[in-house]
């Protein structure tokens, strides 16, 4: 089991070294809070906070910094290039496991009945129920979130990972790639 901890730590250390080698961003500690965002709809509170002047009312200047990859985000924070970032719970638990000196101070939303993130199939696919996932080609992006959702969905259908055909190595870090993956007909299911 220890083997699984090592890549998370190593990737973060590697990212820290990269940030340390390029001290490019100005460090204006007093005036500005630099916050990571992913250019996503899920970052709506950041856009609203800026546009409705909620931080201005507090006397703060907030600067959004586009950065992806949890290791990069943690490394940038430890190096002082950004001040706040977001981690999914998997990243958070691994950071805690490695005793990385960060603190989560708020959660940025949860799923609800109207949530549309989940297992998506091609619109014309014959997969209409979880039971139909047997033998389906499922794109695995490698994230902990994807693995969790997939495992729980399969469990609900009385199946496990061996009942599907995992297609690895497909990068699914933005919605255009999600569409491309499904439209390519190379996979039947993506988690997005």
């Amino acid at each position: 089991m220890k083997i699984r901890q090592v890549p998370w730590l190593m990737a973060t250390v590697a990212a820290i070294l990269v940030f340390a080698a390029f001290p490019g961003w100005a460090k204006d500690e007093d005036a500005t809070i630099r916050v990571v965002y992913g250019r996503s709809i899920d970052d709506l509170p950041l856009y609203v906070g800026l546009e409705e002047g909620f931080w201005e009312e507090e006397g703060l200047t907030v600067e959004l910094v586009r950065l992806t990859g949890e290791h990069n985000i943690v490394a940038a924070a430890l190096h002082g290039d950004i001040h706040a970032g977001a981690l999914d719970p998997g990243g958070f638990f691994h950071a805690a496991l490695q005793k990385i000196p960060i603190t989560v101070v708020a959660w940025l939303g949860h799923a609800h009945k109207g949530t549309r993130c989940g297992l998506h199939v091609d619109a014309k696919s014959g997969i209409n129920s979880l039971q139909d996932l047997k033998g389906a080609r499922v794109a695995e992006a490698g994230s902990i979130t994807t693995a969790m959702i997939l495992s729980q969905a399969l469990k609900a259908a009385g199946m496990n990972h061996e009942d599907i055909r995992a297609i690895k190595g497909i990068k699914l870090d933005d919605s255009m790639k999600h569409e491309a993956a499904l439209r390519s007909k190379g996979v039947d299911v993506i988690v997005a």
């Binding site: 546009e51 000196p101 603190t103 708020a106 949530t115 297992l119 998506h120 439209r183």
Partner: protein, 133 residues
């Protein structure tokens, strides 16, 4: 968004398989918290105001999505949003998610998160927008 483009059909949602699934958390380094406590509290007051604004003025809030994401307005006005409340989530729910990770081999063992999670930076549990509701 995928569905709106006609590319996909949702088979099952995050909420169907893990009710109330917590998506992500906002973190600061311990060093930054120690050095800038008032800035962090001010930042979080603004953030929670934004959560409440989205809840109470959703359509108005959605108007800002295209500017920052490049998503077309028709999608921005209809896409599902996360449920934003006051930034707090129950520990039991976090541990339930953690338990799944351990079971599927994505976390070697249970981790006590309390040392790395601190809600005391958040404003008191009240609507910071007050009269705006």
């Amino acid at each position: 968004m995928l569905e709106m483009h006609g590319a996909s059909r949702l088979l099952t949602s995050f909420n169907d398989v893990i009710p109330g699934y917590i998506f992500s958390g906002l973190f600061f380094t311990k060093k930054y918290l120690k050095k800038n406590p008032e800035k962090v509290r001010a930042y979080l007051r603004g953030l929670v105001k934004a959560f409440h604004f989205i809840r109470d003025h959703e359509e108005e809030a959605r108007q800002w999505i295209p500017k920052y994401t490049g998503v077309e307005k028709t999608v921005a006005m209809r896409a599902a949003l996360r449920a934003f409340e006051d930034g707090r989530e129950p520990l039991e729910r976090l541990y339930a998610q953690q338990e799944i990770m351990v079971k599927i081999g994505k976390l070697p063992h249970r981790v006590a998160v309390e040392e790395y999670l601190d809600y005391s930076w958040l404003p008191e549990e009240q609507d910071p927008l007050g009269g705006k509701e």
